[in-house]
Symmetry: C2
Subunit: 357 residues, 2 copies
Amino acid sequence: MADISTCSPLTRDSVVEAHNLIKSKVHCTPVLTSTYLNQLASTPQPVTVTGDKEPAEPILRLWFKCENLQRIGAFKARGAFHAMEKLKKEPNWLENGGASKGVVCFSAGNHAQAVALAARESQITAHIVMPETSSPVKLRSVEGYDASLTLCGRFEREACAAEIIERTGARLISPFDHSDIILGQGTAGLELQEQVENLDAIVAPCSGGGLLSGTALSCEGTGIRVYGAEPEFEGADDGRRGFLSGTRVTHVETNTIADGLVGKLGVCPWNIIYERRLVSMMYAVTEENILNAMKLIFERLKLVVEPAAAVPLAVVLYNEEFREMVETTAGKDGWDVGIILSGGNVGVERISDLFAR
Amino acid sequence: MADISTCSPLTRDSVVEAHNLIKSKVHCTPVLTSTYLNQLASTPQPVTVTGDKEPAEPILRLWFKCENLQRIGAFKARGAFHAMEKLKKEPNWLENGGASKGVVCFSAGNHAQAVALAARESQITAHIVMPETSSPVKLRSVEGYDASLTLCGRFEREACAAEIIERTGARLISPFDHSDIILGQGTAGLELQEQVENLDAIVAPCSGGGLLSGTALSCEGTGIRVYGAEPEFEGADDGRRGFLSGTRVTHVETNTIADGLVGKLGVCPWNIIYERRLVSMMYAVTEENILNAMKLIFERLKLVVEPAAAVPLAVVLYNEEFREMVETTAGKDGWDVGIILSGGNVGVERISDLFAR
């Protein structure tokens, strides 16, 4: 990353500034709607936990921000391009041979592709450290962006990246725990506000928290509420548990199908989400909820999304806490809710496995 | 359909007129691009038929018109809305109780949903005749649009529709063999021309021929060439065979995976496509080509398309005749080619079956 002294303050204005830096390099992704999904979301859902309560009946109008149609197929392009632009602006970095020293990141997924693409477009060398268990599809994809690929064992990635930094002088590009990344990801929320008037809320998925905290910054002072969405399987809802207890959870190990959301919430995002209270609440959903939402996105929006990207819609449709909150807060006017479809990097074979009859 | 005397002439101007009638009722669907697919299309493909010839190396820039994101998930909404608007404008039709007499169509697929939706939005009764073998998903979808559903045996549909017309006075809405439908479908090609400057060609799938002939009309006099794309399996390339022999093929029976393209080319589309020479050539592809193209659309464009919608990309990527023609005609400048992604109505279970490992 660029030197911390070059970072902009974590404010909405800085998200606007980030957007100005990257908007010629990333897509302004479309926003889609579905009459069917609006009706479904505004219909009481069968509640699995029995009790005295009737299921909630909120009125919801949904606006889907299609970051699955973003470059490299996920919002991660925003943070990576922003990090690269800030690095290029760091005094003397380019002059001292920064471009050939390059950048390094470790990632098994979308961040790797995003850094590889953003680096290539600025003629900066990219070193990508990936787990040796990565799928051939992902490896080929990163190689396709001309990055230098290093495979490592599961617990060796930090040592591996450190060795590359030592040897080459490359700069580490963090996946989420850095201002430049957070401000970059926040530009998705900013665009959504420009594309849809009078939003009441935005729901974004939460893993490391870059997207959620960036979205929260983009909404600060606008009156738009921001909510986080997580899987609950095997404790994947670390963000929610931390949010409710007031202490950030520092260890997570889960095999949720939403494999883009297995990371734990980072320190910098936590500060924005919880300490600064810029996220109103975190909600979690079951694996079945996620699969159902993914099926609806496929069949009704005609969009391919990875399981992680279906988690916010799953919250909106199936989380009774969320739905009761909307019913109570919004009343008869209902709410216009933005939903960030975070990414679409999933192969047809995986889809086939997930929905095999 | 409206009385034939109310039909506009089959010209580009009439497509513009049709667009003005329906543009507030249908989506102006987005146009997507993919750097990866442009590179792939511009790279020689392994040729399966061995011979002395080197594989062609055309330069192609592809523009995908996303009619899978159209209302009801397919371009068919355009023709149905246009037919309904023309019917409402027929002298005395509404005054003589046309809306309650209603409309009738027989279709197992997208045309049924399109007619049901367009009728509902004008408070016109819709009678939909569907094969009793239709999937529950499709039946529910049509019922969801408040249409009156009649199930019939495979060879009874015309008798069944005739009985409804006799009993109710409803008007038949043809799926493709009528000017109002053709002009409506042509609006997809018109929008694409407004969205992408300097197109050299458009490739559209061909079944009954409504979309292909409408697209051809939308391009008349513009210099944009129009090509038809079909599956070749079990003679599904009836349009191509007729085109090459000069005689329309009047019987087709095929089980191609592109189940949206099993119909035979209609008389009115044939006249535009062949007799008026508004389509430059028809090309056909294998089942494997179609599956490969579908996989690329899923994984690279992140779009859900039905197999029929993948046929034009399959032609562009895998049909050597097409590719040689582009290489020869376009030379080093290459071509900007519009590809109509005709629809996205396919369930996750079907996708799962198609791509099962």
